[in-house]
Symmetry: C2
Subunit: 221 residues, 2 copies
Amino acid sequence: MQFTLEDISDDEIARRRAIYEPLTDSVRRLIDAVIRTEVPDDVVAVARERIDDIVDTLRAKQIDGPYGVRYTPDFVGMPWGNSVVGVRNAIAPPLRTFHDGHEVSAEFTLGAAYEGPGDHVHGGVAAMILDQVLGEAASVDNVPCYTGTISLRYVRPTPLGPLTARASIVGRDGRKKTVRGTLADAEGVTVEAEGVFIVPRDWTGRMPRASKDHSSAHTQD
Amino acid sequence: MQFTLEDISDDEIARRRAIYEPLTDSVRRLIDAVIRTEVPDDVVAVARERIDDIVDTLRAKQIDGPYGVRYTPDFVGMPWGNSVVGVRNAIAPPLRTFHDGHEVSAEFTLGAAYEGPGDHVHGGVAAMILDQVLGEAASVDNVPCYTGTISLRYVRPTPLGPLTARASIVGRDGRKKTVRGTLADAEGVTVEAEGVFIVPRDWTGRMPRASKDHSSAHTQD
């Protein structure tokens, strides 16, 4: 696993966030609009041409390959390309995770783009979100680890709308940590998850290191 | 679970697909460009304004709520809003699944938008894709079912790039079907999955019915 050092200040991070957060939010609204629009075909065709123009403009200068997992010299994480928490990734809802003791939680709202069964969250999207939240919970003790296994039990269908995910460590055995979590709507739990996360064999107690999947630095996002 | 009847011909489906597939592909390129761009801040700001304009145009007429799972009177499925296979959902790679006997498979390429660890597929994205492919495999016998449980074992990190997912039914017990599948790159399996899928109690042998999560009709996409 790679990470990329971004030698920038907290002010520079804030400045970049202020530029890219609104841009990515606009793309999220566009994703939703493309699913739900009923405008005439010629209007759709013009929209496509205009989107292609914007893509050309943005691609005039771009990094070669994916964004990577970036850290500042102060070990502030910038996983801005991450599919679940990335502030520059329009696929991400995005989740903002919070730590309260050993519990990691996130409140978020899922719309049309996260649909599987009619009016309900795709089971795979529930799995994707829980993988991220359990992974962050596994790393709350500042020891990074990667996902070994994860098991999900679908208690009932999850409606689109406001949801909460939570997770915390429930057991440890050598380099293995067992983490449990849930996805819930206002009526209660819809999906239960349990995962085993593994500390890299070469972990030496310093952040950031190679061989990280989930790291405590993710909690900044 | 709901489904929506779309009383349209095969020609009309083809016509709509020809309009929306290119539009959604353009949005997929935009998602990638927003993650990777390094153009000056003022260029980003203008891009955002232009995206907001397009969103306003598309929202001039739109459906109320998510897309839903649609079927034609001939039981041709149109899950075009689906997060994994939806041709109108830019979050979806999208997967196109193929049936060969009892095996369901899909070949696809994942780029920057599906990143978790640096240069690698987010573990949750792997879970999301396998949930869809296992769900379709569970329904190859034309009996719909919903996900009960799914367990994933991460054999090694999955690199971004060309990948293959496969799944098939390995066991049956009353209303339960056990399905196994894998995600693999050119070097072999990276993630193993096993799920238990359950046929609705009120299933009467006719498609489409209420209480569907995955259905054989998904195979059209």
